[in-house]
C-alpha cells in the first residue's frame, strides 16, 4: 500500500466548495482523507506549505502530433510538457498522420501515453474519416478504445448535413462534438484577424464573421438534434453571444477559450513585426473581442479554458508570415498566463479559476477527475501563487518553442503535479 500525505496545503476544490488549510492523504493513488490535521507515520510526506492544492488541471484541447509529426511533438514529450505545465490530463486532437479516425489509432495513442506514464491522455476521435468531411468515422469503435469526444479540429465540419448527423450519432455515446468553427470561404486564406492592423500590415484578414457564422449554424443544429456541441477555441464577441443566447434557451452547448485569446490582441502581430509566433487560428483578435471573452469568463458564459497547444518545429515557423503554419504551444505557459490575467488583473475568484481548468472540463468531457472527493483518483495540481518567473522557451519540455509569451514575467505558476497519487513533476528550485 502506497501512502502519501500532503501537508499544510490550501485546498481549493470547487466540486466540494472547499477553500481551507488542510492535509490530504492519498492511499494507492486515490484520495483517502482530507482533514485539518492528519497524522500517518507510514506515509511519505509532501510539505505543501504556501501552495494551493487543486483538482488536477485538464487541458481538453492539445495537439500531441504523434503519430506522424514526431519532429514537432510526441506523446511522451507532450505529456512531459503537460505535467510541467501543471496538467494531469489532456485531450489530444485527431489531426495526426494517420488521422485518429479508428480504434487502432486511438489504442496506439493510449498505449503510448501509458508508456510515457506522466499525464492522462484522452484521445479525441475524428468526426469524419480522414478529416475529409465526407463520411462519419467509426465513433463507436473509437469510444470503446477510449475516445472521449469527436472533432475534425484544425478544420471545421463544413458540411452542415454531416455536422447534424455527427451531433445526432454522438448521442449514442453521450460524448460532445467539438467544432473548430470557421467558414473557410469567408476566412479566405487569411493569416491574421481582419481589421485596421491587418490592413496596415498588408496581411489578409480572417473576419470575426468567419467564426460567428459557423457558431450560429452549429448552435441551430445542436438545438435541432439535442446533441452536445462544444465550441473549440472560441475567440470572438459575436460567437460568445451566440453561445450565451443558446444556453439561455437550454441548448446543450459549451465552449472553451485559450489563454492567448484572453491576453493578446492582433496588435501583437504588428508589435512583434510579423513574428510568426503570433500566428494561430483562430487569430489573435481585436481588444473588443478580448474584453468580451474576459467578460464571459467572469460571468460564467465561458465553460472552460484550453490551450490549443499546437507545436511546430522552429524551421517551419522561420518562414514568411503567410507561409508559416498556424499555432502556438501553450501547455507550459497556460497557468501563469491565465492566472496572471484573470485572477490578478481581473479579480476572478481563485475557486472559479480552478473550476475553469478542472471541474468544468471534467464535467463537459465526462472525464474522471476534476475533484478531490474521497475515492477520486489523486490527480492534483499544486500551485505556487507567489512564484514570479520569466517564460523561458529553452526550458520547455515540449519539443517545440513556438510561444508568443517568451520573456514575459508572470506571477502564479504550477509547483508540482500528481497523477494517480504519484508526483510526476516538481519545479526544481534554482
Amino acid at each position: 500500500m502506497s501512502r502519501l500525505l500532503i501537508r499544510h496545503a490550501r485546498v481549493v476544490d470547487p466540486s466540494q466548495r472547499l477553500d481551507e488549510g488542510l492535509d490530504v492523504l492519498v492511499v494507492d493513488g486515490a484520495i483517502a482523507r482530507i482533514a485539518e490535521r492528519i497524522e500517518d507515520k507510514d506515509a511519505e510526506t509532501l510539505d505543501a506549505t504556501g501552495l494551493v492544492a487543486a483538482p488536477g488541471f485538464i487541458d481538453v484541447h492539445v495537439h500531441l502530433r504523434e503519430p506522424g509529426f514526431e519532429y514537432k511533438e510526441t506523446i511522451a514529450s507532450g505529456s512531459a510538457a503537460a505535467v510541467a505545465g501543471g496538467f494531469t490530463a489532456v485531450c489530444c486532437m485527431p489531426n495526426t498522420s494517420p488521422v485518429n479516425d479508428s480504434a487502432a489509432v486511438t489504442e496506439f495513442i493510449r498505449g503510448r501515453a501509458v508508456e510515457a506514464g506522466l499525464a492522462r491522455v484522452y484521445p479525441v476521435g475524428a468526426v469524419s474519416k480522414g478529416l475529409a468531411g465526407e463520411e462519419l468515422a467509426e465513433m463507436g469503435e473509437m469510444v470503446r478504445a477510449g475516445a472521449v469526444a469527436f472533432s475534425d479540429d484544425g478544420k471545421p465540419v463544413s458540411n452542415s448535413y454531416l455536422m447534424r448527423r455527427a451531433l445526432e450519432y454522438a448521442q449514442l455515446f453521450g460524448v460532445p462534438v467539438v467544432d473548430h468553427c470557421e467558414d473557410s470561404a469567408l476566412a479566405a486564406k487569411g493569416v491574421m484577424h481582419e481589421g485596421a492592423i491587418a490592413t496596415r500590415l498588408g496581411l489578409r484578414g480572417i473576419p470575426a464573421a468567419a467564426e460567428e457564422v459557423v457558431v450560429a449554424r452549429d448552435v441551430v443544429l445542436a438545438e435541432l438534434t439535442h446533441g452536445h456541441l462544444h465550441v473549440a477555441h472560441l475567440s470572438t464577441a459575436g460567437a460568445l453571444a451566440r453561445v450565451h443566447e443558446a444556453k439561455a434557451r437550454g441548448v446543450a452547448v459549451t465552449c472553451e477559450v485559450t489563454p492567448h485569446h484572453l491576453t493578446l490582441t492582433d496588435a501583437a502581430v504588428a508589435e512583434s513585426s510579423y513574428d510568426t509566433d503570433t500566428k494561430m487560428n483562430p487569430p489573435l483578435r481585436g481588444p473588443e473581442h478580448v474584453a468580451a471573452l474576459i467578460g464571459g469568463v467572469l460571468d460564467g458564459s465561458v465553460d472552460c479554458l484550453a490551450t490549443d497547444h499546437a507545436p511546430h518545429h522552429a524551421d517551419e515557423k522561420a518562414l514568411e508570415f503567410d507561409l508559416a503554419p498556424f499555432g502556438v504551444v501553450g501547455l507550459e505557459t497556460a497557468i501563469p498566463v491565465s492566472y496572471d490575467a484573470l485572477v490578478r488583473r481581473h479579480k476572478l475568484p481563485l475557486r472559479q479559476f480552478i473550476a475553469l481548468w478542472s471541474c468544468n472540463p471534467a464535467r463537459i468531457f465526462k472525464l474522471p477527475g476534476g475533484t478531490l472527493k474521497v475515492g477520486a483518483p489523486a490527480d492534483i495540481t499544486l500551485l505556487d501563487l507567489e512564484a514570479r518567473l520569466t517564460v523561458n522557451p529553452d526550458r520547455f519540455r515540449s519539443l517545440s518553442r513556438n510561444t508568443p509569451f517568451a520573456g514575459q514575467r508572470l506571477k502564479g505558476w504550477p509547483a508540482a503535479t500528481l497523477v494517480g497519487g504519484k508526483v510526476v513533476w516538481r519545479r526544481e528550485r534554482r
Binding site: G195, G202, L319, D322
Partner: protein, 318 residues
C-alpha cells in the same frame, strides 16, 4: 510650412514609410532632388557608394522597380548583384532566411528585397547586418514608390502640405496605396481614396485617409489623382464583376478629370492597363506626369541608398 529635414535616417533599414518621421521623409526628398541633378549631367555617375555591394533580391517579378534600383546603384558607383527567383521556389527548397544568410555571407552592404509576402523585409532586417530596403512586400508597403510619388508632387506643386490627393482603384491588394497614404498624411496632405467597396480593406481610414464611395467625390478639388493598377491576375471574379463595369464606375476619363483642379496631376505607378483604370487620352494628356515618376524613381532610390550608407549633405563629385 516646410517640415525641417532630419540630419540623418535613424534606422539601419528602409522597410516602409510607417517607421519614418516627417523629418526623415523631408531629408529623403531633399536628397533625392540633388540626386536627380546627377541624372541630368553628361556623366551620370558619382563615387558615393564606391566599394559598396548591393544585392537586388527579387523574389517576385518586377521590371521597372528592379531596373530603377540598378540604375540608381550604378549612378552611385556601387557593385550590384541580381538575384531573381520565383517565390514558389522557396517552398520547394531554400527558405528566404537561408537565402538571405547565404547572400550575407558574401558581405553585401545592402539587400534590396521585393517579395510577394508582407513582412518579409522586416523578418530579414531583424537577422541581417546589411541594410534591407523594401522594394515592395505583398500588399503591405512600397516605400520608394511613395517617395518618388511625393517627389513628383513636390517638384510640380512646390509642396505636399495642403495638397488634396485622390487615390483610386483596388485598395485591398495595393501596397502603393498604403505607403502613399502613410507618407502623404504624415506630410500634411489630405488623402481621399475610393474604389469598389468590395476592394476597400477594413480600417483603411486608420492609415490617415478619407474613404469615399464615388469617384466624383474624390476628384472634386483634387490637386493630384493617382490611379492604381487593377490587378486582375491576383483575384478571382468575386471581388468585382468585370473590367467593363469597372471602367464605367472607376476609370479616369477626360470628363471625370475635369472635376479636379485645372492643374491636377495625373499619376500611375505602372504598369498601366489602358482602357481599364485609365483612359489613354488622360494617360498621355498634358496633366500626366507618369514618365516623370519613373525618372524620379531613380533619384529617390539613389537618395535611399546614399542616406542608409550614412551619407549626408551633397554627394562628392569626381
Amino acid at each position: 510650412m516646410r517640415v525641417q529635414p532630419a540630419l540623418r535616417l535613424t534606422g539601419k533599414d528602409l522597410v516602409g514609410i510607417d517607421p519614418l518621421s516627417p523629418g526623415e521623409i523631408q531629408l529623403l526628398l531633399d536628397t533625392a532632388e540633388e540626386m536627380r541633378a546627377i541624372g541630368e549631367r553628361p556623366i551620370k555617375k558619382v563615387p558615393a557608394l564606391r566599394g559598396k555591394t548591393v544585392v537586388n533580391l527579387f523574389m517576385e517579378a518586377s521590371t521597372r522597380t528592379r531596373f530603377s534600383f540598378e540604375v540608381a546603384e550604378k549612378r552611385l558607383s556601387a557593385d550590384s548583384l541580381n538575384f531573381s527567383a520565383s517565390a514558389s521556389s522557396v517552398s520547394k527548397g531554400e527558405t528566404l532566411i537561408d537565402t538571405a544568410r547565404n547572400l550575407e555571407a558574401m558581405q553585401p552592404d545592402f539587400i534590396v528585397l521585393r517579395h510577394q509576402y508582407a513582412g518579409a523585409p522586416h523578418q530579414l532586417a531583424r537577422i541581417l547586418k546589411a541594410s534591407v530596403i523594401n522594394a515592395g512586400d505583398g500588399a503591405h508597403e512600397h516605400p520608394t514608390q511613395a517617395l518618388l510619388d511625393a517627389l513628383t508632387i513636390r517638384s510640380r506643386h512646390g509642396t505636399l502640405a495642403g495638397q488634396v490627393v485622390a487615390i483610386i482603384g483596388d485598395l485591398q491588394h495595393s501596397r502603393v496605396v498604403r505607403s502613399n497614404v502613410l507618407l502623404l498624411a504624415r506630410m500634411g496632405a489630405t488623402v481621399r481614396v475610393v474604389g469598389p467597396p468590395s476592394l476597400i480593406p477594413i480600417g483603411m481610414e486608420a492609415l490617415g485617409c478619407e474613404v469615399h464611395r464615388r469617384i466624383e467625390d474624390v476628384l472634386v478639388g483634387a490637386d493630384v489623382v493617382m490611379m492604381l493598377r487593377i490587378q486582375l491576375e491576383r483575384q478571382g471574379r468575386m471581388n468585382f464583376p468585370s473590367v467593363r463595369e469597372y471602367y464605367d464606375f472607376f476609370a479616369l476619363t477626360p470628363e471625370r478629370l475635369r472635376l479636379a483642379k485645372k492643374d491636377c496631376l495625373v499619376m500611375h505607378p505602372g504598369p498601366m492597363n489602358r482602357g481599364v483604370e485609365i483612359d489613354s487620352r488622360v494617360a498621355d494628356g498634358p496633366q500626366s506626369v507618369i514618365l516623370e515618376q519613373v525618372t524620379n524613381g531613380v533619384a529617390v532610390r539613389m537618395a535611399v541608398l546614399y542616406l542608409l550608407a550614412g551619407g549626408h549633405g551633397e554627394p562628392a563629385s569626381d
